[in-house]
Symmetry: D2
Subunit: 171 residues, 4 copies
Amino acid sequence: MSGTSEDASRTRTFTWDDPRALAEAARGLSGIEFLRKVASGELPRPPISALMNFGLAELAEGRAVFTVEPAEYHYNPIGVVHGGLAATLLDSAMGCAVHSTLPAGAGYTTLEVKVNFVRPLTAETGVVRCEAEVIHVGGRTATAEGKVLDAAGKLYAHATTTCIIFRTERG
Amino acid sequence: MSGTSEDASRTRTFTWDDPRALAEAARGLSGIEFLRKVASGELPRPPISALMNFGLAELAEGRAVFTVEPAEYHYNPIGVVHGGLAATLLDSAMGCAVHSTLPAGAGYTTLEVKVNFVRPLTAETGVVRCEAEVIHVGGRTATAEGKVLDAAGKLYAHATTTCIIFRTERG
Amino acid sequence: MSGTSEDASRTRTFTWDDPRALAEAARGLSGIEFLRKVASGELPRPPISALMNFGLAELAEGRAVFTVEPAEYHYNPIGVVHGGLAATLLDSAMGCAVHSTLPAGAGYTTLEVKVNFVRPLTAETGVVRCEAEVIHVGGRTATAEGKVLDAAGKLYAHATTTCIIFRTERG
Amino acid sequence: MSGTSEDASRTRTFTWDDPRALAEAARGLSGIEFLRKVASGELPRPPISALMNFGLAELAEGRAVFTVEPAEYHYNPIGVVHGGLAATLLDSAMGCAVHSTLPAGAGYTTLEVKVNFVRPLTAETGVVRCEAEVIHVGGRTATAEGKVLDAAGKLYAHATTTCIIFRTERG
């Protein structure tokens, strides 16, 4: 199982699981079945989640919510959390929102993501939610949008994405 | 000093430095002076670089190059490196390309970043370079573009960004 | 007054008004006062509206709706309406949504717009609405989003934008 | 044949050709063969080109250049040329750059376009060139970039796009 520890000396240790097992599980399940097993812990969280310390908190067809607590180890050189944290969270949440609509045997790849940064995250912001929903799901492409919000509902970043969908004959 | 270690048991430990010292150093220097001290190791690398294990490799006015070796701990749930690695690298390199053009006393914030993913990074890709250059630097805004390339010059992702610039009377 | 005529021989004639008078009127009014005079016809519609034959249909603080009937003269070389029509509409509606929040003496410029095309518009689509709303309005920047929808609510395109705001001491 | 006339009374008349004939011609030719016939005038220019008064000036495999002279009838309500002109030009040029790489029987659709506006176009800018080149052309998707420049090489806008490609068995 993946885990994490950190201390006052600015050292953090984390562990992760073999991602190939996870990718193989994905192939036999519908998107929402697969993601529910990740959210519940029945399947291990992916390495990127262990690395950046975020998790899949809520899931419905066409919708996914991730949470993270911004920390000092997410900081950029100019004194606030690096935009890459919000970008990674938004890419994850929007991708999962699309994935949650796909039947077993279908897959997707993110073609592009566009992120607007509205205000900076800091180690004092507290836990933030990244909420994403599909806008359009067609036969060959899908689009989705997402927002990063704090506990009071204040907006930090928002994004849209374009995905390509691979459907099999049955998918 | 920041450092990192990992082993066959899928455990990684990294350390980082207080980012406030870095942000304070940034305020007294021109962008290129500040970034040269980060690249040379005279100033500590920012926490996000320690977290994701990438570094600033080359720097010139209006241009920055980062390098990273994609690893298993960067993976997403579908069996390849998460798009967040390229997005974070590109955001870093494009932001530094803009920052490198600013005089002491001026600052910037990234308003938006748009990333296209052309092919997936994996743990077999080897070290990749993220090269960014400014497109336009004006009084109040700047734009830049970046690419992620492997050792053979193959393209993995490309991006553009919009930044707002804060200039003081002298900046 | 601006006007338009077209006929079966694929000829269209349109007229427009001096845009400088319009731009001068904009300077003395709050955004919403100015745009209400354009919507009501008290001020002339801008040349681009005469050219592309679209109009401002609804307005509220932070929200604007334009309508257009896609026609053969909007077509691209591959047999459907050119994406430029949706892009121009979305840019207009999102810009007006931002403008509608600004006091007299403040101004804005669009820094970037990103448009997703979900399905093609044709001359058979009928009148479409382009609905835009602000997402974030801060001191120096604003973001907004917009959608192009037909009479049945079917989605054709969606977009986001980033604007820079110029405020005077009183603005 | 398409044509245009305008006069000091702010009236413009333009004509266009049936776009279905053009779209049918596209289906039997490779992208570059088709576009060369449009550039040479052997095939009529598409209606959008007649409407906005721009034209395809240069063409090579993976590259397209359009030109336009910004005019008063392209103006927005705030006293400069509407961003929709640059957006439409850039969408055209980037789409043609992608199209020029496709064999007969293959087609494409633009999924998204992202445009940065660097400085405003006016009726005094003179003729501008919109130069676009492909960045990546793969089996199922392509990306391209474009710039709008005046006669002195000054930059007004730049953009990127993502296209989906439809290939037949032989394409």
